[in-house]
Structure formats: structure tokens, C-alpha cells
């Protein structure tokens, strides 16, 4: 096992723990912080894979902007008491079994598969210029559609959160 592999497993383990923290934390601020942790670890994995640009973007946007925005949002909206436990406790064991079964199946699939048919791909560093060119030429369409998705999300947020005037 080389150094990269050790790093990979370390990042992955922390990412998984942080992700669990996001879901399980009672206090929503902790959950948000855990999320940021997951994002940082994923950036680390990108880094190992020689995708420096993606790693930077991941750090800047997800860990940085999104994470900070989320925490800001939490601070501005007064959440009050931590949420009480869910009412439908009887569903929990079923959900647990289902989730475990899925993890087993997915895990088995991941382990049993001969990924890339035995060919070990050579990792090469993709310069940002090439990435940009590919993104704006070949993948321009999904990129554009993604911008529409954001536009719709923005409009939607306004519609849903707009305070209505009293004469409505």
C-alpha cells in the first residue's frame, strides 16, 4: 500500500464518519459543521486523484461558500429548541434493516466487480484549460441547463419564502 492509498482510506473514513454526524447530530449546527467536514474530505480525495482544480473548486464552493452560507442561515433563523425525536419509531427497525441490506448489496457489488476490466488507468493531471474547454464545448448543454435549474431554484425560493402583504 502506497502513501496515496493510505491517504485515500483515511479521507474516506473521515468522510463517512462526518456524513453520519450530519445525519445523526441532534444539534443542527453540529450537523452543518459535519457536512463541511465531509466536503473537505471529498476535496482531499479529488486531490489524490490528481484533480487539483476540482479539489480547489470543491473546497471553495462546497466547504467554503455553501458551508458558510448554511451556518449563516442557521444563525439568522432562530431554530430554537433542538427537534424532538421522531414520532414514527416503529419504522426505525425496518429502515435499519433495509439500509443495512442495501449497504451489503452495494458493498458486495463494489468488492466483487472487476473494475475497469483489470486495466489500471494512468492518472494524468488535466490542466484547467482543457477542463474548461471540454466543459464549455462538449458539455455546454448540461452546464446551461444547470444554470436554468439554479434560476428556477432561486425563483422558487422567492415564491415560497415571500412574505405576503396583509391585504392579500
Amino acid at each position: 500500500m502506497n502513501f496515496a492509498a493510505v491517504l485515500f482510506y483515511a479521507f474516506s473514513a473521515i468522510a463517512i464518519v462526518a456524513a453520519l454526524g450530519t445525519v445523526l447530530a441532534r444539534n443542527i449546527v453540529y450537523a452543518a459543521l459535519s457536512l463541511v467536514g465531509t466536503m473537505v474530505m471529498i476535496a482531499g480525495i479529488f486531490f489524490i486523484l490528481h484533480a487539483d482544480f476540482l479539489a480547489l473548486v470543491q473546497l471553495l464552493i462546497y466547504a467554503g461558500a455553501v458551508g458558510v452560507l448554511l451556518i449563516f442561515g442557521l444563525m439568522l433563523t432562530n431554530t430554537g429548541q433542538p427537534a424532538t425525536g421522531p414520532k414514527d419509531r416503529w419504522q426505525r427497525p425496518i429502515a435499519f434493516v433495509a439500509a443495512m441490506a442495501f449497504i451489503l448489496v452495494a458493498g458486495y457489488a463494489a468488492v466483487s466487480t472487476d473494475w475497469m476490466q483489470g486495466v489500471v488507468p494512468q492518472l494524468e493531471r488535466v490542466p484547467p484549460a482543457v477542463l474548461a474547454s471540454s466543459l464549455f464545448r462538449n458539455w455546454a448543454l448540461p452546464f446551461e441547463i444547470a444554470s436554468l435549474v439554479l434560476l428556477v431554484a432561486m425563483i422558487g425560493a422567492i415564491v415560497i419564502s415571500r412574505r405576503e402583504t396583509s391585504n392579500d
Binding site: 452495494a106 466483487s112 476490466q117 455546454a140 448540461p142 441547463i145 435549474v149 428556477v152 425563483i155
Partner: protein, 483 residues
Amino acid sequence: MNGSDFAFLLPEIVLVATAITVWAVDFFTPRDRKPDLAWPAAAGALVAMAFLAISWGEHREMFLGTLRLDNFSLFFRFLFLTVAFFVIVGSPGYVRRKLRNAGEFYGLILMSTVGAMGIVSSREFLTAYISLELVAFGFYVLVSHARHEARSNEAGAKYLILGAFSSGLLLFGISLIFGATGSTGYAAIAAALETTPDFGMVWTLGVALVLAGLGFKVAAFPFHSWAPDVYEGAPLPITAFLSVGSKAAGFAFLIRLFAEGLFPVLDDWRVAIGVVAVLTMTFGNLVAIQQANLKRLLAYSSIAQAGYILVGVATLNADTTSGMLLHIAGYTATNLGAFLVVIYFHNLTGKEGIDDLRGLYRRSFLLTLVLAVSLLSLAGMPLFAGFMTKFYLFTAAAASQLWWLIALAVANSILSVYYYLLVLRQAFITPESEEEEQRPAFRLPSHARATLSLLMVLVLWIGIYPSVFVDAAEAGSRALFGG
């Protein structure tokens, strides 16, 4: 790829431009005039249709084959534009009574339509996925648009959570398929399947997850549970839009994916999809029978209809694809007709129970007629679209010799007739009480009369002399299967 190719995306560009314009104009429109923004929005859809008509028959691959504008995509893009047009034109009365933020409402409908049009043209997972998200994001907002109604909020929350969950499943499935085959392009996946017929567990899991994700979108059993509540809670025009537009988009995704990407492994999935089809239609029909609310009844009936279309997916070939396209077209016209009747009825009475239809024939002959035509068509009566399209689909499916599937599908059609007739009985046969007989006749606005008549003619046209539609559907199917 060169600049002039963008001309072929003009319909989408027009829709986006219209949506943004409507949002902008909304700022300067006095509140009581806002519902009328429907007319510019609908006009945008018409202009887009005109641009689409110009490119009829042109095949074009763009962005390294990720996008393919062929007759298949033309068929569906035209369908989505038609749906958007009718949904928007049917909305103003409802919007005036029930909704605020009218401009955003119409613009979002157009945006979701753009997403649907993107799905059908994509030959690549990520483009299709992000287009699907565009559809879904629009719907999350549209479903909860009636903010002061608890039902609408509940529906919006449910749809958001389950929609995001199903998108997650889909995305995970896509990533597994990518992992196995090394590509997200349908053609490349098919090619990989030719060289390596078996990718093992990871492949099976990937396809299963993609199917589950799309199963949510088309509300197939057992991924249907969101549908009735969301259909019931959403504003009526959006329920109509969901039941035809969103569903057709999901099926278009499925059909292109299986025809161009997963066709080599279809045999492994035939029986599973067939079983899902049967469960979907049976469940939809059995629960529809028990409904007292017209909207919920149509919701369950549209679950059942998805089951019939899945029969075509299970037996996928060039002929059943034509059958599915035809059936989706007929179903779209029919369901729009049924929902428009419910919308106008709701606008006039504020009610949507089946019992409330009593005496409808006396109060509005047109509403009764369109309701009868739509429901009989959904039931699969000859002379109406539903029979002709189902007949075409099942005849084509017979070649697969999955007789159990076809027999159960036909048997389900009987079952469905029963509850459609219960509705018609209220509208046409059950007598009114003396008090009710004093209620005045309905006065429908003239645009409502025109839209209803148009849809009725469409249903009868497809039902009686469908040649034009059959030709279009077959052209669409040839785009995928050649020949």
C-alpha cells in the same frame, strides 16, 4: 458543433426567453391583471411550436452526440409544448381564485417544459439527469404554489423529499453504470455491453437503481406512494401537468435509455418490468374504485395508465415503441380533457367530489360531454383515443408472446371501466334533489369552451382516424430503431 446548430434549439430558447420575460413583466403588472400573464406565456409555447414545426424531419447530433434531435425527440417536444399550452390556457380562472405569484407560476411551467424537452433529446445520462432535475425543481415549487393551503404545502414537502430521494437513487445508479462501462453515453454503454455481456453485480444494481429512480418519476408501483397525496394537494392545473407532462418525460427517458443503451440486456429485465406493470395498473385501478374525490380518482387512474405504458417498455421493440408514443399522445389529450373539466368545474363551484357532479348534464352539456369522452377514452372504449392507442400497443406487445402480461392488462381495462362509469353516472344519470334543481346553469368563458372542444376533437380524432398520429409515432420509433 457550430453556431447554426443552435437554431435547432430555438424552441427551448424561446421558452426560456418567454419565461424570463413573463417574470420580468410580472413586476409591472397590477395584481388583478397578473393571472392574464397566461396569454403571453401560452403564446410563447405556440411560437416554440412553430419553430419546432420548421425543423420537422431534420436529424441532428450535437455536443459530441450527447444531444440528438430526431423524430423521437420531435414527437415528445411537440407533445410537451402542447401540454404546456393547454395547462397554461386552462389556468387563469383557477389562478385568479386560488393562487398568488401568477407570473412565476406560468414561467415555472415553461421552465419545466424546457427540462422535459431536454430529457427526450439526451442520449447521455448526465444531460438527461440534469434536465430531469430542471423538471423536478419546477414542480417542487409549482406543487406547493398554493401557499396558504395546508394540503398544497404538505404535497410540496412530500414531493420534494421523495423527488430528491429518487433523484439520488437515479444518480447512484448512473454512477454505478458509469463505473461498470466507463461511459454515461447510451451508445457507448450499448457498445460496452456488446464486448462485455456481463458486468456482474454492480451492473445489475446500477440498472435496478436507475429503474427505481425513474419508477418514482412515472409513479410505478411500488414507487407510487407519493402520487395520490401530491396530486390531491397540488393546484389543479399542476396536477394535470404532473399527470401528463412529468409522466411522459419519465417514460421518454426510459424508452430512449432502453432503446439506445440497455437494449442488449432488455431480456434480463422484461419479466421484472412486466410484473411492475401489472402491479402498477392493478393497484391503481383497485384503489381508484374506492375514491370519492375526483382529483384523487384521476390520480390513481393515472397510476394505472402508467402500468399500461410499462407493458410497452417490457416488450420493447420498434412496434411497441410506436404504440407507447401513440398511447402517451392519446392519454395526454384525454387526461388534459378530464382535468380541464375538473378545473372549470372547480372554478365554478369550488368543489371536486364525485357526488358534486350530480346534475352536471343539465348545468353544462359541454362539460358533461367532454368529461364523458375523456373518461370513456381512459376506460378504453372504442371511438375514443384510449381504445385505439391501447389496441395498437397491445397488438404490438403480442409479438413478445408474454400472454399473461397482455391478458392482465386487458383485464385491468375492464376493472377501470367500472369506476369511470360511476363518475359518469353521477354526471348524467343520478337525479338531483329538488333543491339542487334550482341551481343555475354554468356559464363557461369562451376560451374554456374552445379549449375543451379542441381537446375533445383531438381525443375523437385519435380514436377514430389516427393515421396522422400513427405516422408521427412510427417516425419517432424509427428514429430509435432504424428501418
